[in-house]
């Protein structure tokens, strides 16, 4: 019963999706202000979801069952991540060993859901989107996991989110050294993780898998109604979950509500500014970016972390 409450209501589905939709509104509003427009009202993303729920769901001819299951797969796994992270922040000592690895796996699920769903829609443009999404996943997972490994090494080899938070409460945030100076390993890993977060969110320099101008929505092209609403909700949940994960990994010293909101807004602003100041990359450029400089920086972060910097 308590588990169900946690999963569906408080740190889980309801709370996280409300936060995510509001964060999505902040994103749209700031984008509008950057472009000198007024932007939509605060309830816009909620209305969008409700509207999509009321629309007809079209099943393309010859689509497999996975076309309808995939959106729920992505949504359920992100909700699980939101629950695990929310509970670890509230009760750091009650998390289980290895939940960091579970979270890393579950954070890949939305991309896989998108790939599975779009690939079963039998649309040629969707399959272009799928191939791009797949390459992007291959691209960003390597530096992202290296950055997380740097953090694991910095927190004395624990793979438990609660223990990482505890370590930071005792010895200061991971982007700082215990002595108070900026830690080069932490900062390098943080920079890499921010770019990987942008790619995981599928926001503008890395949104080539659903480029609306060239491949008309790409992976989402055949989705309408309820499954599209599920994908939009998954995106919103990711916008809440990923910055939270970054905060836990890198800025976990003071997790009181006010500081948590401040750090979250800081990360959201970084995401929105990257989104608004960059054009879309081609998939080969993105792959080169992640396997080149980002992997190099993340590797350097791991080596520096082993050296104790």
């Amino acid at each position: 019963m308590k588990i169900l409450f946690h999963y569906l209501i408080f740190p889980g589905f309801l709370f996280a999706s409300c936060m995510g939709l509001i964060a999505g509104w902040v994103d749209r509003k700031v984008t509008a202000r950057v472009q000198w427009r007024k932007g939509p009202p605060w309830y816009q993303n909620f209305v969008d979801i409700i509207k999509l729920l009321g629309k007809e769901t079209i099943l393309p001819e010859g689509a497999k069952n996975t076309f309808l299951f995939a959106p729920f797969l992505g949504l359920l796994s992100v909700v699980l991540v939101a629950t695990i992270l929310g509970l670890s922040i509230r009760f750091p000592l009650e998390s289980f060993v290895g939940d960091l690895i579970v979270v890393l796996y579950l954070l890949t699920m939305p991309a896989i859901a998108l790939i599975v769903g779009a690939a079963s829609s039998r649309n040629p443009l969707a399959s272009i989107g799928v191939s791009r999404e797949m390459k992007l996943v291959l691209g960003y997972e390597l530096p992202f996991i290296l950055a997380v490994i740097a953090i694991i090494i910095k927190s004395k080899g624990v793979i438990q989110i609660g223990a990482i938070i505890n370590h930071q409460i005792n010895f200061g945030s991971n982007i700082f050294l215990p002595s108070g100076w900026v830690s080069p390993a932490g900062v390098l890993a943080f920079v890499v993780a921010i770019f990987c977060m942008q790619a995981k969110l599928g926001l503008v320099p890395f949104d080539m898998s659903e480029a609306e101008q060239e491949i008309m929505g790409g992976t989402l092209i055949e989705y309408s109604g309820l499954p599209l609403a599920m994908f939009k909700l998954t995106k919103a949940l990711l916008l809440y979950t990923l910055p939270l994960f970054m905060i836990i990994l890198f800025l976990g010293k003071d997790l009181s509500p006010a500081m948590l909101i401040g750090k979250y807004v800081l990360l959201l602003v970084i995401v929105v500014l990257i989104r608004n100041t960059n054009p879309r990359l081609r998939i080969d450029q993105a792959l080169r970016f992640f396997w080149g400089p980002m992997t190099f920086l993340a590797g350097a972060a791991v080596i520096l972390a082993i050296l104790g910097l």
């Binding site: 427009r37 409700i50 009321g54 609306e212 929505g217 989402l220 055949e222 989705y223």
Partner: protein
Amino acid sequence: MNLRFKALTKSIWVFHAACSPCNNCDIEILDLLTPRFDVERLGMILAGSIRHADALLVTGVPNYKTKERLKKLYSQAPKPCVVVAVGSCACGRVMFKDSYNSPCPVDEVVPVDVYIPGCPPKPEAMIAGVAKLIKKLKGK
């Protein structure tokens, strides 16, 4: 009026179907997204795919080829979907009425909900048309 139409009026995603127009209407439609008019205030965005669309924005006079495409587009759109005819051509074919390659006006191909005349209509006129559309949906 139920929640479904209420939400629809607050977030109309538009798919832009160009049926061989002269591009003047299309340029004016793009003006709607610019800072001066900014229809995202009303929750309207241009959708990339017809499957995401709530409104089909038709410009131009359909010819024999685009007529079939338009019919197909409308059948691919998830309902409820409204159709807006933008420009005098889409409203009533004006000077292309007797042209050899214009079989019929838009409203004989798909059911049109709102007509926005003008050559091209001003962005203000389009926003007025949107207001009429919302009023019509609320009356439904």
